[in-house]
């Protein structure tokens, strides 16, 4: 017997029908978002359904390599998606993003697993996978916002950047303002959500735990832990990816690489 009420598959149709109102509205006003909503909705259902199958298997087997493989897969997808969402980008950024997001998310998850939760085994998927997922999701947003801001600032206005360099500025003197901006923008969602958490928004994880029967006080402590973890991951990952991009687009002899050298892709 569960501590919560089951949601059955057929009953999800009621939830899905709520979307129909949006589709009708879109059709009437010719907003053209009907197709995109349908595709996004269908993708969400299929992805979560598959995730359910995978998680069920990983949770039952609870073996280290399976947890690690799932974690790496999630990290890889998050890293690639983060770069794909920027409006201007270059191929090397994908690898940078994956390496940074996997490293920071694993590190922060490791700290909380070893230092705070101490489950047995340490890689218990019940703890590791949800934590990792939340860190990756938030880091993804931070990286794509920060990287987009940085690359747009530097690469869309080459004349300005090269104007600084021509006057004798070092590459860091030229780019530091953009790096700072990238960090600020990348952290906006995290900081905003921390500011209003519990007042305007009831955090998703806490809500989930309470629905699943946890005592609110326990859920609150979990939430505080995860928010600190998220803030640490987002700032480190955004900074890391931005600095790697900086090192890629400026040479050590203080030159801004050309679009051709970088293999720039534009949206």
């Amino acid at each position: 017997m569960n501590a919560y009420i089951d949601v059955t598959w057929p009953s999800l149709l009621i939830a899905a029908s709520l979307l129909i109102a949006n589709l009708v509205l879109s059709a009437v006003l010719r907003l053209g978002m009907g197709r995109r909503l349908l595709v996004a909705g269908a993708r969400m259902v299929v992805q979560l359904f598959l995730l359910g199958l995978v998680l069920e298997w990983v949770f039952e087997s609870a073996n280290g390599p399976a947890v690690l493989a799932l974690g790496l897969l999630m990290g890889g997808v998050a890293g690639v998606t983060a770069v794909r969402r920027t409006s201007i980008r270059f191929p090397a950024a994908y690898l940078d993003s994956v390496v940074v997001i996997v490293t920071t998310a694993f590190l922060v998850t490791g700290v909380s697993v070893l230092g705070i939760l101490r489950p047995t085994p340490l890689w218990d998927p019940q703890y590791v996978i949800p934590l990792l997922g939340m860190l990756l999701g938030n880091a993804l947003t931070g990286i794509s916002l920060g990287l987009d801001r940085f690359l747009t600032g530097v690469l869309r206005d080459r004349t300005r950047v090269e104007g600084f360099l021509a006057l004798g500025a070092t590459r860091w003197e030229t780019a530091q303002e953009e790096v700072r901006e990238a960090l600020r923008v990348g952290l906006i969602p995290t900081v905003n959500s921390m500011l209003v958490m519990g007042i305007v928004s009831l955090p998703g994880m806490m809500t989930g735990q309470i629905l699943a029967g946890a005592a609110p006080a326990d859920a609150v402590r979990y939430q505080i832990m995860i928010v600190f973890m998220i803030a640490a991951t987002v700032s480190t990952a955004t900074f890391g990816v931005t600095m790697l991009a900086y090192a890629r687009i400026f040479t050590s002899d203080h030159r801004l690489r050309s679009a051709g050298e970088l293999g720039i892709e534009l949206d």
């Binding site: 004349t159 104007g163 002899d253 203080h254 030159r255």
Partner: protein, 198 residues
């Protein structure tokens, strides 16, 4: 192409648009990497790690120079933020109000210094770029069509100021232009013609 520039030279670079005049200037100051060949400065290859120091001596002025938000004076003072020019009071120079003097010579009144950079015309922006470079006193000045947006009278005054600067020391100038009359006025030394197979 093998071309050298000696102290006192006032070289002129000509050629139709899109023949790579800007590219050559950019390569000379290390903003672009040459596909082949190399740039020597005083017999030495240009120092990669000290590109800022090199660019402070071999200064490239873009055809449409960088303007930051703020006044003209802020723009003239901009290079003081960079380590390579650290400690230099640029527009309030030790040697009197050199910025004001240069601007006056070009025909700009004293309140030009307090104008917002955002309201400057293309030509006024070029004047700011040239004066800013002159105040930094490089050894070589690379000017990319510096008078493209200026009226004839101002063009002539800018030429005078720049040529005066060359004469005042151990300096060299590379000026790009496609106005034959200007080429005649400015040039003393090499004439580099780009185009066709260049």
């Amino acid at each position: 192409m093998n071309q050298s520039l000696a102290a006192g030279d006032r070289a002129v670079l000509t050629g139709h648009s899109a023949t790579g005049k800007s590219l050559l200037l950019r390569t000379l100051c290390g903003l672009d990497r040459p596909d082949e060949g190399h740039v020597l400065f005083r017999g030495e290859p240009t120092p990669g790690h000290d590109a800022p120091g090199f660019r402070a001596r071999v200064m490239y002025v873009q055809q449409q120079p960088l303007l930051i938000p703020g006044t003209v004076r802020d723009n003239l003072d901009l290079p003081a933020r960079f380590n390579v020019h650290a400690g230099r009071e640029i527009s309030e120079a030790e040697n009197g109000d050199r910025a004001g003097d240069l601007l006056a010579q070009i025909g700009k009144s004293a309140d030009f210094l307090e104008q917002r950079a955002s309201v400057l015309s293309g030509g006024e922006g070029q004047v700011v770029g040239i004066v800013r470079a002159l105040l930094l006193d490089p050894h070589v000045l690379l000017l990319d069509e510096p008078t493209a947006h200026l009226d004839p009278a101002t063009t002539q005054r800018v030429e005078e100021v720049v040529l005066e600067w060359v004469e005042a020391g151990d300096r060299a100038l590379l000026w790009t232009s496609h106005d034959p009359a200007q080429v005649d006025r400015v040039r003393r030394g090499p004439r580099i013609e780009l185009g066709g197979a260049a």
